[in-house]
């Protein structure tokens, strides 16, 4: 039980990863898939930040020139900080594609073969 609590963040990471993965794999609605992808991303962020945590440490922003305190690892934070912004950009790109699919086919789920509505512009 104690080992479970010590790795609680990692278990949550695994559960969130699988929730997101399930939505991406099994849901038919494209926006739901994108939301699932966001949860998946958030799980990865959580994994990185959890790995950078040091017991008894504090945020890697030095207060009052005290360089000898225990700090958490700044490197995963840097990676994830940029990854979050990249995440929103990819989300926006995905949403743009979904909007175009809706305009062209009138639906946003991938059930059955999509039919092109008559009179609609096919995507160029």
């Amino acid at each position: 039980m104690n080992a479970f609590l010590d790795a609680f963040n990692y278990w949550v990471f695994a559960v969130l990863l699988m929730i997101g993965f399930y939505a991406v794999m099994a849901r038919h609605n494209l926006i739901k898939k994108l939301l699932g992808l966001s949860v998946f991303q958030a799980a990865v962020f959580l994994l990185f930040i959890s790995m950078g945590k040091v017991d008894g440490g504090t945020a890697p922003i030095i207060l009052g020139d005290n360089w000898d305190a225990v700090f958490s690892n700044p490197l995963p934070q840097v990676l994830i900080l940029t990854a979050i912004v990249v995440g929103i950009s990819t989300l926006a790109l995905g949403l743009a594609i979904v909007v175009r699919i809706k305009e062209a086919y009138g639906r946003i789920s991938d059930i059955d073969a999509p039919k092109v509505k008559s009179g609609a512009d096919t995507p160029s």
Partner: protein, 112 residues
């Protein structure tokens, strides 16, 4: 004392989350999100105090700002949806009702 306040805020976050999960109408969810955001701001302020780092308060401030924008975005969404529904529905038909209206029946409303 501040730890007690933190516990109260955390419990309230849980209650707000329950409201967001239960719905039933869209407005309940927005209400829950708004409440949740305020509680997060308070919790962060308390955490900043307990951790003794005043630079965490920047975050609480950012949350307060962002929360407001989120609620306004939802309102704009409602408005846009209403415009679309008015456009799509034939005139004379009732439009714009909350689409997930409280499911419990309200007896007597129709009869009286």
């Amino acid at each position: 004392m501040m730890i007690g306040a933190a516990v109260a805020i955390a419990v309230t976050m849980f209650l707000a989350l329950l409201r967001a999960l239960m719905g039933p109408s869209v407005y309940d969810r927005v209400l829950a999100v708004n409440m949740f955001g305020t509680k997060t701001v308070l919790l962060l302020s308390v955490v900043a105090h307990i951790a003794g780092r005043s630079d965490y308060l920047d975050l609480a401030l950012a949350y307060a700002l962002i929360n407001f924008i989120g609620v306004l975005a939802v309102l704009e969404f409602f408005r846009l949806r209403k415009v679309q529904q008015t456009k799509e529905a034939p005139p004379g038909e009732a439009v714009g009702a909350a689409d997930e209206v409280d499911e419990r029946p309200i007896p007597g409303e129709g009869g009286s």
